[in-house]
Amino acid sequence: MSIPIYTYDAVIVGSGLAGSAAARELQIAGKNVAVITKLHPLRSHSGAAQGGINAALSDADSIELHEFDTVKGADYLADQDAVELMCQKAPSTIRWAERMGAAFSRTDDGKIAQRPFGGQSSPRACFAKDRTGLTLLQTIYEQALRVGVDFIDEWYAADIIYEDGKVSGVVAFNIRNQEKAIFNAKAVMFATGGYARAFKISSNAHANTGDGLSIVARHGLPLEDMEFVQFHPSGLSGSGILISEAARGEGGKLLNSEGERFMERYAPNKLELASRDVVARAIINEIREGRGVGPRKDAVYIDLTHLGKEKIMERLPELRDLAITFLGLDMIKEPILISATAHYSMGGIPVDIDGHVRKNNDELVEGFYAAGECACVSVHGANRLGANSVLEALLFGRHVGQSMVADIDKLFLREAEQSDADAMIEEMERILTSNGKETVPGLRNELQQSMTDNAGVFRTEETLSKQVEIVKELRKRFANIRIDDKSKIFNTDLQEAIELGHMLDYSLFIVESALARKESRGAHYREDYTTRDDESFMKHTMAYMDENGDISLDYMAVTPGKFEPQERTY
């Protein structure tokens, strides 16, 4: 059976903010571009962002302050050239999104309104009520549609065509009917989003299974800084669904089972408005020491009742709705139950400042690009600040799209062959015919639970070593699975199995990288090495997987800039 080969100038995988913004740039430059996405574009996780998008717009703020806050927030692991580019271009990027139709909230004189967020020297987050991501995603998608971008939705990208340091296409199948195809192109971009679904308690969409990372890693290409996974302090108890930082920004108080406002002990000055990593650790510590609340004693209270009904309805209506839906608790009348939740992936596919994927510390892959949460250009370093990641996705998505436009005429098209689809076909066949005794939901649950327990907010040599063994063992058992659905139409059983394979692979990168980083920096907190060690670890982790699935580690220098590392206090 022959597989159709479609030819484009550029193929983009992922249609969140990063992918859609890049696609529009290519299209308006007259390039022939396709966007492949496993969801409908408007279901991408970018639409879930509530809080805001940063830019130094006001006179009270400055680009330099935005840069400083970002570098400090990153615990000095960010690359300062990338931070500079992001902060400088932020104002025009926000205004460009506004011109395209984004429905931002406004000040009385008609300007874009801004609100304060943790770790910011000035109110910097532009917002659209509590649906910032929704308005941005809709706007970028709509305008990409308007100029004629070819969106190929509900197609699963399972592999890239990589040979001799060059990427020349994507191999994918149609989720609707398992029709397979090769998308041959001069330039390929990955914008596949985050990977916090490896954890049990997570704010992420079901779709955030980090496929893009493992697809890249399986070709022997590196992943950068995978140990840095951000845990947000306020996920709803049980589900991990996000209660935005706005809740603490508006004055939410954290209380334990003894009614103590415990942040007084952990961050006497900033209290609930200390940085995310600090608050998340405080909460988990309270729970570990037996002062948790709720039916499972695995949460703390966030009390917003003193704000009053009016303010809650005006500022936090969506959050109130979420707590009612998922906890049956009304924050107007009673405190609600929260705990830390896996939220954001600082690491990812290493790229240079123009989005070219790195082959190693010194070389780039030809014709291959990445942007958004799946990429690590490193603007967030060890810890990202609220409202900087939607900015990253939108801004770098567009910027990398432009760099593809500039490169495409210099790139040649290496024609794809039928055999390029072999790896994907084998993977699908293996899963469809495997007749073992393990189940996908069973293994996935073990992975997520153990990642939360052993590689979560607190980590030690012991828990991480244990987790390395668990992940390896789960990978072996994965070879012995059996799925129920053998049919061709919307076989989501098959899809979930493929996704689990990806989760297992990149999880090993997370734990191996974390095990080797014997210091505490930003979101990565080692109880056995509680301080930052600039001497040994002011560097990016570069991890590689070999053919046997084993990980080896290398390191890459951080790009310095005008801000010298200092101790990080809030």
């Binding site: 969801l39 409908h40 408007l42 279901r43 991408s44 996780h45 639409g47 879930a48 025009s92 205004r95 460009w96 506004e98 011109r99 395209m100 139709g101 429905a103 931002f104 909230s105 406004r106 000040t107 009385d108 004189d109 008609g110 300007k111 874009i112 649906r131 929704l134 308005t135 809709q138 706007t139 709509e142 305008q143 549609l145 308007r146 969409a205 079901h206 669904i241 996000l242 709720g294 039916p295 709705d321 979420l322 839906t325 998922f326 906890l327 049956g328 608790l329 139950l337 189940t439 996908v440 939901p441 799925i483 129920d484 659905d485 049919s487 061709k488 139409i489 919307f490 076989n491 059983d493």
Partner: protein, 326 residues
């Protein structure tokens, strides 16, 4: 929530695989449901604990992406935002899970939504304006102008209203409430230059806003309080305000409606039909029914039409609001 309670619930689950099944069937699944769960948790548990071949769409799991819309006992819900306890309270302990539209079912809860997206794209769902690629300043929009969108920008394209609309069921051309709400979203935006273009699209006979039967189902079912019927009414007005009305049954119906109210302060239904459809077509189409109604005294002759006691007020209101004459 200090305790978690559980109940045994029986689910009748719609199953269908268009590749292998000739007809759909329902499968009974019994489960202990906890007070913490939403419908999506149940869908997940059916797939993960009972039968892996069960299929449905989902992504964000907190009511913002629009992927997971289904029907429970005929009621359209966003699976990830609908609490099981609320449904049990409403319908009892036996619940039927079905896709949004049975005739479009492809696999279990998954439907072919092609018609929804085609119509979404048909109304030009984007800001029509020159895009400044590197702007120095944003457009000035006051809070009041921003509020004019009336939350129509909050639509998540879940399709609940579309597949609950009775007109969509019988008329394949009808653009539908979600796309109308979207058309309103851009028409209400001070930055947009495409209002007339969009009005001409949504004004078309049989596809456009005039075919809405005002049943309010779309407002009822919407999980985001977008209230499409409210936007449809506003689009009716825009059509007249912008002089885009074309002389057809629907617009004449609207104008005739206004005439009648202006004249009597009340609705003269027979006159309205005559005005909308023309005297001769009216007699041909409704003559028989009309005659029967006349015989039993249900038709009031124009000269006998009663007047509202608030006629002056009504007249003043109409004068201030009407803009178009045929």
């Amino acid at each position: 929530m200090t305790t978690i309670t559980t109940q045994t619930i029986t689910f009748n689950v719609f199953r269908f695989n268009s590749e292998t099944d000739y007809l759909p069937y329902y499968k009974k699944v019994e489960m202990e449901v906890t007070s913490e769960e939403v419908v999506l948790d149940i869908l997940n548990r059916i797939k993960w604990e009972v039968d892996g071949s069960f299929s449905y769409r989902r992504s964000c799991r907190h009511g913002i992406c629009g992927a997971c819309a289904i029907k429970v006992n005929g009621k359209g819900v966003l699976a990830c935002k609908e609490r099981m306890n609320d449904l049990i309270e409403l319908f009892g302990t036996e619940l039927t899970l079905e896709p949004l539209s049975i005739k479009r079912a492809v696999k279990d809860m998954i439907i072919d939504k092609e018609d929804f997206w085609v119509k979404h794209e048909a109304i030009e769902p984007y800001l029509i304006s020159h895009i400044e690629e590197h702007p120095e300043m944003e457009c000035a929009v006051t809070p009041a102008q921003a509020e004019a969108l009336l939350d129509s920008d909050y639509c998540i394209q879940c399709g609940l209203c579309h597949y609950s609309c009775p007109v969509i069921e019988i008329n394949d051309d009808f653009i539908g409430p979600a796309a109308f709400a979207k058309a309103y979203r851009f028409n209400a935006d001070v930055r947009d230059d495409g209002i007339d273009e969009r009005l001409d699209i949504i004004n078309a006979p049989s596809a456009g806003v005039w075919d809405c039967v005002k049943c309010f189902e779309c407002a009822e079912v919407c999980p985001k309080e977008v209230n499409p019927i409210e936007k449809i009414t506003k689009l009716h007005n825009q059509i007249f305000e912008h002089g885009r009305a074309i002389n057809n049954v629907a617009t004449r119906h609207a104008v005739g409606f206004a005439h009648s109210i202006k004249k009597h302060g009340l609705l003269d239904e027979a006159e309205l039909v005559r005005y909308s459809e023309g005297t001769l077509p009216m007699l041909m189409k409704h003559g028989k029914v009309g005659f029967k109604m006349f015989k039993v005294g249900k038709v009031v002759m124009p000269w006998n039409m009663p007047k509202s006691d608030k006629l002056d007020e009504v007249k003043a209101l109409i004068k201030s609001s009407s803009t178009v004459k045929f």
